[in-house]
């Protein structure tokens, strides 16, 4: 006897398969396990090599003699120092997810009501976890060592595309939110498309939310300091929302 089919369980199964595949592709924990017993120097070298291979960073060396990692923007707060918390406290007007509020999260950046939030949570197994909420439905997290590996010697890190609401990725103007974090001296971030005008987030302070055009292929993000000096470029051509745009009502070709 065949058991009746339950569509919602199939759909939920697809979601968990997607999440599992993402973890399979970026096995932070297993990487730590592999290098867990190795000297820290090996870990640092491996992390840098991995960052160069995986992250698609352009060869734009930081021009400052003293490098302040993005991780330094969060490390003190993660360690329990509340004197210099990142971002701003949440207000009633922020559309922060409930779990971000419950965990005393902070608002790093906000554009058109879409926020980038950060929370810290103490765990017994992995120490204090730093989690970024990309809008209301997507989050990325890890402990400070995980992040330090990823942030090391970078002025700009792309966290990814988030969602405007559960199951809503693109707004009525054909835009999607693109999130990232920056070192403290970064004051603006420019998104360059393959063609056409670029989009700039000014007054950047620790992170950004760019409402990117889902109808155009992206090329790169460029971080600048207050003097207009270019600090870092990141390839974002892998973030391509055009297929999703075609399936979204109102997201027509320009």
């Amino acid at each position: 006897v065949t058991e009746p089919h339950i569509q919602l369980l199939d759909d939920l199964g697809v979601e968990f398969a997607r999440v599992a595949a993402n973890h399979e592709r970026s096995p932070r924990r297993s990487r730590r396990w592999v290098f867990g017993a190795a000297p820290r120097r090996v870990l640092v070298i491996a992390s840098c090599a991995l960052a160069l291979v995986v992250c698609g960073t352009y060869a734009v060396p930081p021009t400052r003699a003293a490098i302040e990692s993005i991780a330094d923007s969060f490390a003190g707060w993660v360690a329990g120092d509340d004197d210099q918390p990142p971002g701003r406290a949440l207000s009633g007007g922020n559309a922060a997810p409930d779990w971000v509020r419950e965990q005393g999260g902070r608002l790093i950046a906000e554009t058109d009501g879409v926020g980038l939030y950060v929370t810290r949570v103490k765990t017994e197994e992995r120490g204090t976890l730093l989690t970024f909420a990309l809008g209301n439905s997507v989050s990325v997290g890890g402990n400070i060592d995980d992040w330090r590996e990823r942030f090391d010697r970078h002025a700009l890190i792309v966290l990814g595309a988030g969602q405007l609401a559960p199951q809503v990725s693109i707004d009525e103007r054909g835009r999607f939110p693109l999130f990232g974090v920056t070192a403290r001296w970064v004051t603006s971030v420019k998104l360059v498309y393959e063609e056409g005008s670029s989009l700039t987030a000014d007054d950047v302070d620790g992170g950004f939310v760019l409402m990117a055009d889902a109808r155009r292929p992206l090329r790169e993000l460029i971080a600048h300091d207050a003097a207009g000096q270019e600090l870092e470029r990141r390839d974002v051509s892998h973030i391509d929302m055009r297929d999703l745009c075609k399936q979204t009502p109102g997201c027509a070709a320009p």
Binding site: F16, E102, E125
Partner: protein, 192 residues
């Protein structure tokens, strides 16, 4: 080698994709488990999703090997969430949100199938009989506290008894109704 829920859960700690076997083994029975206790498919869906999200998040904490240990671990998460739902009146979604899980919509066909699978019609009838079999005192106490949602102080005042007695009557009534609902989790399906 046969893939059992226990071995799949263990394997998922180093191979996240193995979690698919865990999901296959438990998803249907967990949805029904929650449906029989909440009578609400949306809540049952959310509780099922959060159970798997927490299991996925904490999969490295599973130290067992056998299917029985896997059952106990998964249903431990499920019962905790159900308890939270009972106390707070809302489903905890922290792990679902943290993993970015999108909850699927519920079709009319799904609702009918799950109601049938959960045997809700029969369960409602059994609960109804059990409710009718309660003593008058217990039935009234339960009605005031659970259906009319009065605080215990008001329940006691209405019944002209002490608050402690009111609590005891509600508690005994709930226990008798709970006996009607099978709280034993079903055995998981085994994939191979």
């Amino acid at each position: 080698m046969a893939r059992t829920p226990g071995s799949s859960l263990r394997r998922a700690s180093r191979e996240p994709s193995a979690f698919a076997d865990v999901y296959s083994a438990y998803s249907r029975q967990l949805l029904i488990f929650f449906m029989r206790r909440t009578f609400d498919l949306e809540a049952a869906r959310d509780l099922t999703a959060e159970t798997f999200a927490q299991a996925f998040r904490d999969r490295r904490r599973f130290r067992g090997r056998s299917d029985r240990e896997a059952d106990a671990w998964i249903y431990g998460i499920a019962r905790n969430l159900l308890s939270h739902y009972g106390r707070k009146g809302r489903v905890e979604r922290k792990a679902v949100e943290r993993l970015g899980i999108q909850l699927p919509s519920i079709g009319v066909g799904d609702y009918e199938r799950v109601v049938e699978l959960a045997g809700l019609a029969e369960l409602r009838e059994r609960v109804s009989h059990a409710f009718a079999d309660l003593s008058d005192d217990q039935r009234l106490a339960l009605r005031l506290r659970v259906i009319e949602e009065l605080p215990y102080a008001e329940v006691a005042e209405t019944l002209r008894v002490s608050e402690q007695t009111a609590r005891a009557r509600v508690s005994r009534a709930l226990r008798r109704l709970t006996d009607v609902v099978d709280l034993t989790p079903p055995s998981p399906e085994v994939t191979s």
